[in-house]
Symmetry: C2
Subunit: 348 residues, 2 copies
């Protein structure tokens, strides 16, 4: 679906949001098997990826697509690496997209706004023989769930969370890698734009007709279960989100998981972007997810992950993880800092 | 949006499902202000509406649109009055739709399958100068919820339920009528195809992009609050539905209601169409809805409605209502049998 292969290289657009509010950009840097030759962030031009994100291949940060090309980059694609609330296209990105198309690059985006439906971009792309790849455009043959995910011939683990951007995709990918490290045939089920860009397949569940959201999850899961023994399903949003809780609920009931992994970001006190919506106590989330799962397909929070990037030292981070484990009454880790293997036994 | 006015008359298609599995047809017969001149049900041709549905204007039941016209009907529109699981178009209805268009009738449908996108129907409608009105086609300018429904300048009551087809729309409309009867400026917020056909406005929340479902509810509510003191919001599905729970969750968090009305159908033991999904005890639903509402906008189940059509005599129905009231720990009624006024005090 996404036409990038390991030999390709991309430029990633992340204006004014890299790295902390550019989770697609960071996800691609960390997990995609193609190369990132430059990151666009006009607020950090002249800096480098390594200044901000450790443990990934370094790349320069430049101010525009034109600057990236001037510096000698010869990418196959420009990838939109940020996703503002609402998923709109920011007109300040238009020059970069136009420059990329004119330079013969495909453009890969995960916005609610489809580049392929933008007449100016579509015409320019046709002129230059490049593709506009909107990974958030769902397939047009989806339908309602039949309530059959429990028949999937695989163990199913779903990540849930206390908010958006708590590490659901990261935790899911780290769990897949840790399981594969142990020789387990584990598969990743991507449900959001970044996961789809990384994995090259998947359905953007938040972009599906609401009635078909659970059905889309069910179909992916039944398909993936044919080739894997364990499936780790990327969760979305949170069940207490004022805007996105319906998507979270559809994932929970559509996937009918055997176990849940609760993700949280240490220190987060309010729903991101909805500052008057307080984050409830962690214990309430456990009760809520488990009691909501129970009538459809019972599942317990069997492990947790905590994003501890706000702590400088490992000792304080470890203490926060232990406190979190107590709150959810299950083993926990920070998969980036301490590895996902620590919680794998609780899930398999 | 729906171009029917009180002087119009319609034929309602309900093949093989009238009346018990034709909730759109029955809703329109009971609540719409335009006339129904015939119902199409090939399994009941020769019978009459009054044989099955009391307290509505009678109309003949005939086998096809051609038969309705032969019998002298001169309708302004054919209305598709049934909604199969999945919302598809049944090819056995094609002749009726074609005949209607050729007779100069508009066609009003609430299916996921849009008649306007059917090339054969679209061409025929253009030839005959009639409209194909797909009420389930959402507006194209929706976006995410801002979490602002709590600012609505109206009291908000949302119907929730133990399953689909438990009387959420009926209860909502009966509550609006009962409140208006008391001189209260009450408004109906339609969220599904039948409610939209009856009210002539509204957004089909189940057909909206999942990320925008709560936002669609929020927008309708803020709009309607400008002209009413109390809003009764039509609920959808159930929070334990294997396919549709996400829509229910989006309604709960998008509407941020002040009170909930729990609807149930007496004797229902499994989720309609998902016979291995048992209906949990009523008490569990109360806990689930209230605990899911609490972190976003607290709301209690303040009243309930029970569909008692399975009871022949009023005494047994009254006993069932009392038992149900005890289960939800709030006043209850059957709004069709005993009136909605009985529970209004608990909601206002």
């Amino acid at each position: 679906m996404v036409s990038l292969d390991p030999d390709d290289s991309v430029v990633v657009l992340a204006h004014e949001r890299f790295p902390d509010r550019a989770k697609t950009a960071v996800g691609v840097l960390r997990y995609a098997d193609y190369d990132v030759t430059a990151v666009l962030d006009r607020a950090r031009a002249g800096e480098a990826v390594a200044d901000h994100v450790p443990d990934v291949a370094d790349a320069p940060i430049v101010g525009s697509m034109a600057d990236a090309l001037d510096a000698g980059a010869d990418p196959d694609a420009l990838l939109i690496g940020i996703a503002p609330i609402g998923g709109g296209f920011d007109e300040s990105w238009r020059d970069d997209v136009r420059t990329a198309i004119e330079a013969g690059c495909d453009v890969v985006a995960g916005l609610h706004y489809f580049l392929g439906d933008d007449e100016a971009f579509a015409a320019l792309a046709a002129d230059h023989g490049v593709d506009l790849i909107d990974v958030r455009r769902p397939p047009d043959d989806l339908t309602v769930s039949e309530g059959r995910a429990r028949d999937a011939d695989a163990d199913v683990v779903l990540t849930v969370g206390t908010d958006c951007s708590t590490g659901k995709m990261t935790s899911t990918l780290e769990l897949v890698a840790a399981a594969q490290e142990r020789g387990i045939d584990a598969g990743f089920v991507p449900t959001g734009q970044t996961g789809i860009m990384i994995a090259g397949w998947g359905v953007p569940v938040d972009r599906v007709v609401a009635d078909f959201a659970a059905g889309a999850v069910e179909r992916m899961l039944l398909d993936a279960a044919e080739t894997h023994d364990v499936l780790f399903v990327e969760g979305q949003g949170t069940i207490v989100h004022p805007a996105y809780s319906g998507v979270t609920c559809s994932l929970l009931h559509g996937a009918m998981p055997d176990a849940l992994v609760m993700t949280h970001s240490a220190g987060r006190e309010a729903i991101h972007g909805y500052e008057d919506a307080a984050i409830p106590p962690i214990e309430e989330y456990v009760d809520l997810y488990e009691s909501l799962a129970a009538p459809v397909a019972p599942a317990a929070v069997a492990a947790g992950t905590l994003d501890t990037r706000s702590f400088d030292d490992d000792e304080a981070a470890r203490a926060a993880v232990e406190e979190y484990a107590t709150a959810i009454d299950a083993p926990a880790t920070d998969p980036i800092r301490f590895g996902a293997d620590e919680i794998l036994d609780a899930l398999l």
